[in-house]
Symmetry: C2
Subunit: 295 residues, 2 copies
Amino acid sequence: MIAVDWGTTRLRAYRLDADGAVLERRDGGEGALSCAGRHAQALAALIAGWDDGAIVLCGMVGARGGWREVPYVDCPADAVQLAAALLPLQDEDLPDRKLWLVPGMADHTRSVPDVMRGEETQVAGLLDTLDAGEHTVCLPGTHSKWVRVESGRITSIATAMTGELFALLRTHSTLGRLMESAQHDRFDAAAFDDGLARSAQPGGFSHHLFGVRSLGLFGRWPDEALPSYLSGLLIGHEVRALAASSSAPVHLLGGDALVDAYARALAALGIASIRHAETLGATGMHRLVRLRGIA
Amino acid sequence: MIAVDWGTTRLRAYRLDADGAVLERRDGGEGALSCAGRHAQALAALIAGWDDGAIVLCGMVGARGGWREVPYVDCPADAVQLAAALLPLQDEDLPDRKLWLVPGMADHTRSVPDVMRGEETQVAGLLDTLDAGEHTVCLPGTHSKWVRVESGRITSIATAMTGELFALLRTHSTLGRLMESAQHDRFDAAAFDDGLARSAQPGGFSHHLFGVRSLGLFGRWPDEALPSYLSGLLIGHEVRALAASSSAPVHLLGGDALVDAYARALAALGIASIRHAETLGATGMHRLVRLRGIA
């Protein structure tokens, strides 16, 4: 089968064997929300030569404005329920292929709803390896997802816009102008830890942000260290608010640099972390296909 | 005398009588940090015809990158100390005029420093009217300042980047894209109050921000109401973190719409507010000139 993780900025396809092991991987350049009407062509070009097996797609490709909108599955739900909600798709640009879209998930259990698209598939790839207790899974990114798993079911979702906030502040703010000399953000562990510690102090997020400027103004950190300080401050606020209730280790899924940063922030709170491979999305799609009984 | 409030984006000049009453006001277009080498010409053009009296300037005009950098006066300091630190200036484009720059203030009393330039002058205009007790003054804006006054001395400064954050999110973020139909941000009191209430809930700032998106996604607030919700959320976080320790009324100085919003947020926390006129900056400069004994 072919497993495709197609997000806002990233298109990644895996060819899997019958047991779900990755035989080959290809990366494409088209974001799922920016190729309206051309999804089938873009996918056909990427997987040229991978001529058999079902094609399963997860991520923003199933969002409004993507290839086709797949309704959210509500929390709580397990992998069987996700598999039952796979949406079949036919497209004349991919004749004779069976396509399936994985639904996103919505959390209406609290006063403000939350959602995810793509991350539920990565968590589905993890579920088999977790015991029946309670688990917290964190998927850092532009929009970090904190997913709660209880007895094999996904029970809640909390999203933090931390990555987007960092990019906004780095690119467009008065803080970003201080950092202009720091062209390539080299990780500065001491500055990151100082930002992390600052997030525990009173004054609030918006006041702490201004501190980045005054620390730079008085030379307390050189301009090149300010991006790491800002990163520690932002991740510290997120982790403190969303992981503080966890005593069990947090499962981390994502790119190495971000996972390193989140593991460091969790460790500062006395919370252990367990890292998982980014290919869990492919594992999850394989699992959903098996549960659905798709050839 | 002539009192000039010259900030990053705003130039405003007042002609005052001997008692400090405003006789006339003029607004110019040049920001203090964007007219390097042309400050004297810009000022001369604005105050043409106001031919006598000392000229006092406060705000970013005295910052690095302004007309001339004036060193910060450290907290705690009273109006006498601020007056003693007025920096005299001569410029050949304004011959025969005495110019004085008001210093900004810095707060090194806590682990992270803080600063202000311009707001100290507005607070100086207020000091005469306050009793010898403790007072909190809030000056909302792009960078809101929370200034503590004790026994007639300015003892601490806390800045929150709330206004800049709102503009960043409104203009450049995924939240801003949801609000594209809300061209003119009309104040929606119910949405503002809902954002305000959200700021009291667990989950943290960055998670609450994502809620703006999911509330819009599920139609819980129409797109046109989202800017007010976001404003309530941001101001709520700021006020909760920086005013929560205050039981006495908070003194508010600023433009009407912002002061209304902050007063509403304070009231939701059970904190009263006292509003002051924006001309307090001119009053403050008049007071500093008198204390310094300038004609």
